[in-house]
Symmetry: C2
């Protein structure tokens, strides 16, 4: 049951830049298939080279690095529309692992055809560079949060980030968004211990700012959450969809 690029549900969202007919046509040829990954599936492995690149169509996942001391740093959360495997595509080797958290459906592209994209579709190549720069920006934001905030601000920051991203994906119903991750995932993203993350989430709940339970994040006070996280403005920037 392949999702036709011409009928891609993500393209309808304001979050993603519009695509020309020519670009859509090229992408429908560039796309070689769909891949459905079950929860826990390792989609890409750190240090490995992959012949496939992906766009997440549905479902959620994680990007993480494993340190030599065994600890895990989550370097990103994959949501619909995210591109997966760029590092393998241009550097030849993934610098982080990717794992499905829920059942995920992904559009599949062959790495061997990436060069054709650069040769024949400079606008798409430019968009790919834009996606890479966006990833860099998101990592910079995360580094700033992890490096300069205390636990309460960190948890506020990550929940606020999820809330905004999931809202922009049209997944917000009455200030509730799906959040199927574990507390350990958030802890490993923010550089906190599991216990401290749990206690901080309890504090946010007790303060009436946000509640995370049963794979659902409910934000009672969006402005307060954003302020706790030292977030300027509310607007997420649009970005290209690959």
């Amino acid at each position: 049951m392949k999702t036709d690029c011409h009928n891609c549900p993500l393209r309808k969202l304001d979050l993603f830049d519009p695509m020309s007919k020519d670009e859509v046509h090229f992408m429908s040829k560039f796309k070689t298939g769909e891949f459905v990954a079950q929860p826990g599936t390792e989609i890409l492995a750190e240090g490995a080279s992959s012949s496939q690149l992906y766009t997440a169509l549905d479902g959620m996942g994680l990007r993480f690095k494993t340190l030599e001391n065994g600890s895990r740093q989550v370097v990103g959360f994959i949501l619909p529309g995210d591109f997966i495997g760029l590092q393998s595509g241009v550097m030849g080797e993934m610098q982080h692992s990717v794992e499905a958290t829920t059942r995920m459906t992904m559009c599949v592209f062959n790495r061997s055809e990436l060069w054709d994209l650069f040769k024949y579709q400079p606008r798409r190549a430019f968009d790919l560079t834009h996606v890479a720069a966006t990833e860099e920006y998101l990592l910079g934001e995360a580094l700033a949060a992890v490096g300069q905030m205390d636990g309460y601000a960190k948890i506020s920051w990550v929940l606020n980030r999820f809330f905004r991203r999931l809202t922009a994906l049209g997944l917000n119903e009455n200030d509730q968004v799906p959040l199927p991750y574990r507390q350990q995932d958030i802890a490993d993203a923010m550089g906190l211990s599991l216990v401290h993350t749990n206690k901080t989430l309890a504090k946010l709940r007790e303060d009436g700012v946000a509640t995370w339970a049963n794979d659902t994040l409910t934000v009672h006070r969006p402005k307060m959450l954003a302020e706790n996280a030292f977030e300027r403005g509310t607007r997420l920037r649009t970005r290209p969809l690959i």
Copy 2:
């Protein structure tokens, strides 16, 4: 005193991927000038759009973000060969500020000609995406260090990272490399306080692993420093020069 691309001193280094005659020729046309920045100069500002992009030819600088609470997160250290302003070039707006730490000489490119590079030089466009992916990788590494290491490992990690990068740039003389940054810069990169950074540097000196004084980093025990930082392998990957 313009540096001719055909005689670029950086191109001689093994750290950078070779360039074809056609690529060098294109770059010498793409380059519009040289810019010399004095220490303290703000080269690019967070939130601003710039009409220029740069490659650092000589000298060192910083990339940083400022949080609403006034704290500063250093998100990168600029060394010769680093590309500056990619986010402005593809996203339209810088997500971090760039400041010169020493006197810096930079090759200047016009952002308006970036599109030509994508249209007429797909190999260079591919290299630019590679550079973006490399920045993403470096930020992921930094996030892992800041998020998962204690103070001693963090300082070891950043000094080891400098030692390797500066050695690859041919700046290592008897296990000594120039390091003209302040302790506050390192503290803001690793998410530590200035006092704790100072104490940790003292501990490394006392352990006979590394000494940083008079803008010079001396690594007495490179393997020990790398082990403290949980760094696998010794080899830095080559990358394209823009």
